[in-house]
Amino acid sequence: MPLVFKAGNETKIAQERRGKLLGLARLAGLPMGASCGGAGTCGSCTVFLEQGRFELFGQTVEIEAGDRREVLACETVYLGGDAEVTVPRVAAVVDEGARIETDVLLPTHASRPAVRVVDVRLAAAQHESSTSLCERLAGALGLAGVDPDIAATLPADASSAPLSVSATLAFADGQERLIDLRMESSGRPPLALAVDIGTSTVAVALLDPATGRILDRAARFNQQMLRGDDVASRITHSMEPDGVKVLRELVTGHTINPMIAELCDRQSCDPEDIGAVAICGNTVMAHLFLGLPPAGIGTWPFMPVARAFPTVSAQTAGLSCHPRATVYVAPAIAGYVGGDIVADLAVAGFGQRPGVELLIDIGTNGEMVLAENGALFACATAAGPAFEGAGLVHGCRAVRGAIERIDLDAAGRLNCATIGGAPAIGLCGSAAIDFIACGCEAGLINEFGRYDLDLLRRMGRYVSFALRGHSTHACVLADASESGTGAAIVVTEADIAQVLKAKAAIYAGIKTLLQGRGRAARAIDRLILAGGFARHIRLERAIRIGLLPDVPVATVEVIGNGSLAGAVLALVDTSSRRAFVELMNRPAVVELNLAPDFAGHFAEALAIPHLDPTEFPSLTAQERST
């Protein structure tokens, strides 16, 4: 007498006899997006009850076949017995074939590895001088002291005899410390782990810190997503009883540790070979990783518990590495501009040359930093997850089957390319940008993001899509027959509006920062795009829709995942950690909501590419010339 979930072509059966539908679906293998974390406000877990007994707001509801009812999975409880629920769209939290950025580009650096092994020989102790095993070791290793617990692991007869030992030294808070001692070298070099904790995705790289060689990498969706898509919902969840503990365990035990196991398995090494870890993430992610409550960041003045974090042991952090491995967490600039941005700045060598530079981390939080002859200004735009595909009716993350590129050819035919070439299951952020850009070029979409319905009908792609009780105009990207979900994949006018709001937030942030220094877009000498998503945007398309300012494409540098690169840098050259500290205090943080012109900039940036054509002179020139 089971509960059956139907999602497109898939059927999954819940093993449980009772529970909230959202959780049961996840356990049955159909994880659903829950942007608000199950608070009942975002609608992303909408499902249809086809039959069965359920409880909704304290009332029992009996659904008969044919009696279909639309509910939120986070608010509905299954009460047992035969039941069927249709999941209309799976906002995939699965990792199969996910396109997550793990490229690492480092600036020039010295070699000062965060963990190394030294073989030393202790001379025989002099009987006259009063000394100790600890002091003999410390002396031989050039350290101020060593942990007695480690010294105690040496055999008893080691006390005074000459001794050869293999010592593993790891860097923490400005100096090295002894973390492991063996009579003989294990023959395996110590390894280091770089981690980028993003709000949506966590990427790791296993490396040899002495050579900087990346042995392997992995990426996984941050399992905290089950408690909300954005930092605000995570903060809210952290305020519940044991909230911080639960969220911490979701990122360490359920996200990072499984990846460590996967990498070590593939590389035939032992997780305990990892002697140093570096973590870069936004301020809320850093707090939750360390078990610090982020509640202060949730309301003005957005005050974190700390901006500089102590280096802790892997055991304290709950990571499955050598228990004494040192875990470094990059410092943050402010509540909403974190260590991941500090890492971006370090890796890009930002703010060290004359002229105007702009760095944008295109992701959920849309942080950006402006440099004007070395003076730095930072802000966060809270663009939202539209670029990750969330909030769009058929939006999905960059997984196998996601439409990632869209082109309209000269004959007006729409061509969609999916990740892995698999049948389309949805479209991801880069495709949404493509669609709006080429749609505008072809006259299919007007400057406010509305379709030319006649043209859409002539293309045979018009469909009226039912959305929350109203119908909206939509363009079919893939028919039901060719899609991977059994239903047509569409882009509605509501979807376009969501992307426009996200891109307007970013553009308004850029404009506010520039105007604050009396500058215009043409003053930008160097535009740096960071973030995994940045790698997949077609720059001309991003400028066409007005997400990026009108700068020559040659001025744009895409550094990809700067957060991960910064973590690697902190492990191969520990002196870079000083640069991080210097960077964390340099930028003046601009609170966009308090900037009087921000709202106006936002409204004007809602049009494609902008309400004021003089903002995008090269596009206007192109139009005039055709």
Binding site: C36, A39, G40, T41, F57, A232, S233, I235, T236, M239, A295, G298, T299, W300, F448, G449, R450, L467, H470, S471, T472, E493, A494, I496, A497, L500, K501, A504, E591, N593, L594, A599, G600, F602, A603, L606, A607, L611
Partner: protein, 209 residues
């Protein structure tokens, strides 16, 4: 007295410059300020608001139309004031304490002005004292918005502060806010979007059908 089609269209299309040119021109030609407001401008905003609720226009167009409307109101207000024009009611709007988001709140302010109400914009990060100050200036409805799940709880404090004065209506809204939440904390009204907020206010002031 029919509506002026050019002005109506300019507001609907968000052509701010056109509105700024048309309003003084029409006044100079002898149009009555109050009639321009009630027969052309308010209906234009109501039209846009209804379309928004029906998903026929979205936030981008609504925001741009509201700005065009505001530009027209800025020119009209001194003229209306001189003639002793009375708004339909007086309300105050603010984003709650700890929250700095104001774009949605600004849209509500513009839509309410566009519907003929006098609106005291209390800004952002508003504690109970700011809402009290709005009421002291004559507002009989208090509209609170919150955009973060972390600042929503403050709405309860606002509702509690006015519980002993039932003639002051507290209306809440914002992306994470729901009708259930409004009922839970005892708010008088809930607006699901800017247009809905106008409808709730109209109902509370006894102006809707």
């Amino acid at each position: 007295m029919s509506r002026h089609e050019a002005l109506y269209a300019a507001i609907c299309k968000g052509k701010r410059n056109d509105v700024q040119a048309l309003v003084p021109q029409l006044l100079a030609e002898g149009a009555v300020a109050e009639e321009l407001l009630t027969h052309t401008m308010i209906p234009a905003m109501r039209d846009i608001g209804e379309k928004f609720s029906r998903n026929e226009v979205y936030v981008p167009e609504m925001l741009i139309a509201a700005r065009a409307m505001q530009a027209g109101l800025n020119i009209l207000e001194p003229v209306l004031a001189k003639k002793g024009h009375q708004p339909y009611g007086k309300v105050c709007c603010g984003t709650v304490k700890g929250d700095l988001h104001d774009i949605g709140k600004n849209l509500v302010v513009m839509m309410l002005k566009g519907a003929g109400y006098e609106v005291i914009d209390l800004g952002v990060d508003c504690g109970v004292e700011k809402f009290e100050a709005g009421v002291a200036q004559g507002a009989t409805a208090v509209l609170c918005s919150a955009l973060l799940t972390t600042t929503m709880p403050y709405m309860k404090q606002v509702v509690d502060a006015f519980r002993d004065r039932p003639h002051i209506k507290v209306i809440i809204g914002g992306a994470p806010v729901t009708l259930n939440y409004a009922k839970e904390i005892g708010a008088e009204g809930y607006g699901s979007d800017a247009n809905d907020a106008v409808k709730v206010v109209e109902r509370l002031f006894g102006r809707s059908a």
